[in-house]
Symmetry: D3
Subunit: 225 residues, 6 copies
């Protein structure tokens, strides 16, 4: 099991060569996710057109996948229910960071997990945000990052790795903005329930973790400029 | 748009004839969901076996589907990403109500939406819990119910119908136990973000709504006994 | 096994709330089917266009599905060969009731079986006809209803429930109009063969059953007006 | 449109080389279907086992497919609703010809349409019966053949080609045994309805056609012996 | 195992009735493939349009499938990885025979294997070329044919049947033009490797086989004129 | 377009962290492929068992996929015909390097393209061979590497990047062993044909390229030891 920590696991976000407009690898502890952001001019059919026939706004979507070698027992390729839920989570988080009216087309953020050691969905949000910022260029973007918190053996824990995640009574994923507002709070008592006091303790811890992650995001963005 | 309310929408849970072990229809405002609970002796392969070759515990799963006539524009049949996410939410909520070691096999709770007017996933949890209790017979079950809350035009609102849901800045689904603990908290700022004060106000409102729903659940269960 | 009857099983067709233009539940014995009729303006591509670019006629189609709780052993969701065959049967029957040139678009009749106790495909035709009539409003519709007949232990039987159906040597589904003409005759010797005399006896019985069903259809339609 | 005929179209059934246990090509007018019968020892799971663990009976199933070059406009490969319905029809007809208790395993009759000019499903039954007989060797088999009849411009017609089929008010497929009993009667008023007198006239014509087809079947079987 | 041969197996290509523009059956030893060529006016979307909006060129594609009765153990229907690879091979070979700018639309060559006894992909190329030529009418076409060669027990062998193919250390498929140039060379050491000398010996043998096959192609084309 | 080269593009193979038993990234020019080798004890059903019930040999298989960000225009996820053909090519090449009797189970080599700039399938073979060697540990493995050659504007070219590949008249992929034998030779005249002299020139160039690649493989393997 992981060592004693008071903050998030050791985290880096590095530019990574790909053919996409934005492309980074985030490593958070042993978890490692390749995040790319690709532009396409064609928006979905359901977006309304204005009087001149142009779409009223653009769109940001996400896809999440675990590469076969990301788990000790090889992960089979292909969509599954968990990935479907996760990529909807990532896309909602990223859309909260942008003004869709400023986006000309669709940006797809692909999050491919290279090593899965817990917290892949929150790492994907945090990393994909940098790839998205890179792809957007001069279009402004709000800081958004995500972290997991949980209750393990009755104690609140920040940024759970796989061993902690398996042991956790409660697991919560929190997406926040740079001003400390919540974009998404997803707390689940997989093996227990939680009261308001525990919820508050987890949210405090999450806020602390998100601040640390935003520093790492900024460091990477500065390299990219 | 819906009238002024201080509580949940008008809600009933009624036994409904089917071939399943548990079977009710929940109506919450205009939303209407058929919830059945079917028993099967065969557990999934991934459940470990004990020394005598028996599975260590049973399982509770859920499927969620919108019937084609449930929306003004006919809903196409077949699985979609939203349904996948919702049925995982329902299943987690129901598993929190039971001791899986007491369940001999698999119980599948099917939630088929007959009319969709907002809050179908929380109505599905609240209704399926009754069908599950009916199917379990003498096996004990913890009270669990779910309700949606949100922020509409800056005000917290309980049990959003479709019109409110579309207008909401923030949408939150809350699953709670009879003792007021949280099983699941899923808050999403689809068109806005929210701070801790707003989160707390929504959770207070949700607790109130869940209490009202548990009364309706008990009334139906008493009819079934 | 079912009691002695000289006519059809006890049958009701009741309006049922949904978001579709037409919506009823038919119960025939224990069999229970939710039938909705939804309108869509867009016709299939294969329908020819007239000189002004409008489609030459509309279309009526049907989908048939058994809900998971409709059978004692839970029915898995998703299309299967039997359902495919049945929904083509229902659609042909309903198209015989209307003048497609009077229909502006596509009407999809969804037949979702809530309890399956034999005769679901004929109950679906009889119930969906009422939903279709309701959705059509002032557009005229010919009476059409369907019933099953069979040979069980050498005797002709009307409106077989599941136990009789399993025991039957011959199973026949008959769709008829209000003037006593045949729209469809589907007789199958699953466990035997049948001669002309037996065929005639079954057709006589079917004609009698269809008359009874049309009374129930009219009663429901009057309620809806 | 086809010439005046009082009987079936010109029909031959010829042995055709393949790797299957039974293999013929039937040509009926321009319609041409390759019918093979393949043996497999493994029966479906739903067939009950006797006390010694052996399946209580064997099974006969069928698959129907139109080859891409069988229609003037290329037919796309892959299953469709019509093929699903047709192969169930073929399989029921063939099962009526055999005592399943005498069949050790599964026989799959594959009917691949090389030229489609009407009546492919009945030609498939008639041809596949010969392939099945060939595959069965000494196991006894009842004569079974199928033919289509219809009403075109108010007159009953035997063995409709594509042009007649398109023009027909009523279309009926009839499967009969050597003793003149019905195995299956499927009459559909696609563009009209029919009364008892017309039904009887069509059945008389079908009986005549089936007798002619059984002669062709016997001729081929004698070649194969 | 097959008898001693110095040339290709006994080969015929015969016109075969279908509804397609080109249609032959090739038999090579026991291997037998039905090859049809169907015309469609609509080209794929990726083909560029010229200034007048017309596609810059047409397209030739191929589909390959084994009929269920083509193998002693019944072949299941539906696409598989091997068929996918083979139909891409066939299509490339056929495209080398034509000037796509002369082709107005898409020609799909369907190769359905009736008996599989080795060399089905090369027989498919050789046969489909004749069907393509027939469908093209006056549009010129280059001679193209294909044959397999291999190394069995250390000796080079031409036109392997199934027994030889299973025994072969090296298997090579060669597509050539009438002027002796290569269109495709696909040599695989499934159970061994090969050096340059062996490669040359196989290519010599393939050239000899292709010449023999082109004679059979011409004989069939003359019949069709 | 690429600069003048007399050898292969600049190539490195580096260990890369993942959860798989073998894991490297190969970069060849701008092309970049993540190759992992995962072990699984369970062999496919078709592998025969010996007298003691153990499988007679193990298996090596491969999967090939292009990540969405690997191409300037985002690549959609999911299997396609080209990937199917390529992964069969990779797997055959890798199986030639090992004695399957020495492999206890299945090794799956996953090749996920991070940047696609030509030659991805041959880079995948070369890189996956190192991952396979790493996963095999002490089990001996033969040197195997692959390279592409082609004819561009009439001249033979080694190791084509995307621009050269698009311009090439002939494209050939060559897999060779450490002793200079061929495992696979796949030459295709996509926009031209080639004669024996050109084939020989391409094979000479390929042999040179493979030698260079094997040096890079060895360098990486030494790091891993």
């Amino acid at each position: 099991m992981s060592r004693l920590r008071t903050g998030i696991r050791s985290t880096t976000i590095e530019p990574y060569p790909s053919a996409a407009a934005g492309s980074v690898v985030i490593t958070q502890g042993r978890t490692r996710v390749l995040c790319t952001a690709s532009l396409s001019p064609q928006v979905p059919d359901w977006i309304r057109r204005d009087a001149t026939g142009n779409p009223e706004h653009g769109w940001v979507t996400a896809e999440y996948s675990m590469l076969p070698g990301s788990t000790p027992q090889r992960k089979k390729r292909g969509p599954d229910a968990r990935a479907t839920e996760i990529q909807r989570f990532i896309a909602r988080a990223l859309r909260a960071a942008v003004d869709l009216k400023k986006i000309p087309g669709v940006i797809t953020c692909d999050c491919d997990v290279i090593v899965a050691d817990g917290g892949t969905r929150t790492a994907a949000v945090t990393g994909a945000w940098v790839a998205l910022a890179q792809a957007l260029g001069d279009v402004p973007i709000e800081p958004v990052a995500a972290v997991s918190v949980g209750i393990v053996a009755g104690r609140t824990v920040l940024d759970l790795d796989y061993a902690l995640d398996v042991a956790a009574e409660v697991d919560m994923n929190v997406v926040m903005t740079g001003r400390g507002r919540f974009v998404e709070v997803q707390g689940t008592g997989e093996k227990g329930v939680f009261d308001r006091t525990q919820l508050n303790a987890m949210l405090d811890l999450a806020a602390k973790g998100v601040k640390q992650l935003m520093k790492v995001q900024r460091t990477c963005l500065e390299k990219l400029e």
